[in-house]
């Protein structure tokens, strides 16, 4: 299912709702809904605040691949700064006066695989949650 919108931060709530509804329709284990909403919210927030200047076109494509859930977020923002797509590492970002990097750190913990790809006119982030469709979730969400 695809959701295309000229997004701004005021639509984050609607975007999270789309994730819940789509995951429900695809038969995703509800135990991972919080992880999915968190990952999508953080990814869209990163695009809107770092890629665009607060507002721009995004496309969210949520689909199933066997028991895996695939969430693909694409935008038409300038190519990502590679420092924003580098793994956040195993420890939480340092707490300094204006801390950053929390979003990517949380996405990496909420999802099982992340793939960044530069497009001709934007960026694409694919986030995968494994083993959450059809039967008990294989993924550890503790």
């Amino acid at each position: 299912m695809v959701f295309k919108v000229v997004a701004d931060l005021g639509q984050l709530s609607t975007i999270r709702e789309f994730v819940t509804e789509t995951a429900t329709a695809l038969g995703v284990d509800p135990a991972v809904f919080d992880d999915l909403r968190l990952a999508v919210d953080e990814a869209v927030t990163n695009v809107l605040t770092h890629g665009y200047d607060g507002s721009g076109d995004i496309e969210l494509d949520v689909s199933a691949d066997g028991s895996d859930l695939i969430i693909r977020l694409s935008d038409q923002a300038p190519p990502f700064d590679s420092t924003l797509t580098k793994s956040a590492g195993s420890r939480p970002p340092e707490l300094k006066e204006k801390p950053g990097g929390f979003g990517l750190f949380l996405i990496e913990r909420a999802m099982d695989k992340l793939v960044h790809r530069k497009l001709d006119n934007g960026n694409e982030l694919t986030m995968i949650k494994c083993g959450v469709i059809g039967g008990s979730a294989a993924s550890d969400t503790s």
Binding site: L9, G10, Q11, L12, S13, T14, R16, E17, D34, R37, L38, D41, E42, T45, L48, T49, P92, P93, L95, E97, K98, P99, F102, G103, F105, L106, R109
Partner: protein, 122 residues
């Protein structure tokens, strides 16, 4: 589902000036500024301690955590290491509590089950 964050504020002015902020709605990048603004108003209005009642926060993301971090700095600007003893968090949802733990905030912010317990800890 509303994307707005509503904040009700009450005061407990016993031995210590405490502002209790009851948050209702999502705490995300869209509402982060609202929380910081209301906290600043409460502190400028004389509150020495803040309680954030998060029992009705339907979503918490990293932007909300940055707001909470900013509040610890507002409350204790001279305290090294951002370890605020003037902020209490009450009743976060399991998902929100998990974010506190994942980002390490549970090591420097006390989390309580209810407002009475939080006030008693001050």
């Amino acid at each position: 589902m509303s994307g707005n964050l509503e904040i009700g504020i009450s005061r407990e002015d016993g031995d210590k000036a405490v502002a209790i902020m009851r948050l209702t709605g999502p705490l995300d990048a869209n509402t982060q500024g609202t929380l910081e603004e209301k906290a600043r108003e409460a502190i400028d209005g004389g509150a020495e301690y803040l309680l954030l009642d998060m029992s009705a926060v339907e979503y918490l993301g990293s932007a909300g955590m940055r707001a909470i971090h900013a509040i610890t700095t507002m409350l204790s600007p001279d305290e090294p290491g951002m370890r605020s003893s003037r902020l209490r968090v009450v009743s976060p949802s399991p998902a929100a509590a998990k974010i506190f733990k994942t980002l390490g905030f549970d090591t420097f912010i006390d989390i309580h089950n209810n407002v009475d317990e939080a006030i008693a800890s001050l």
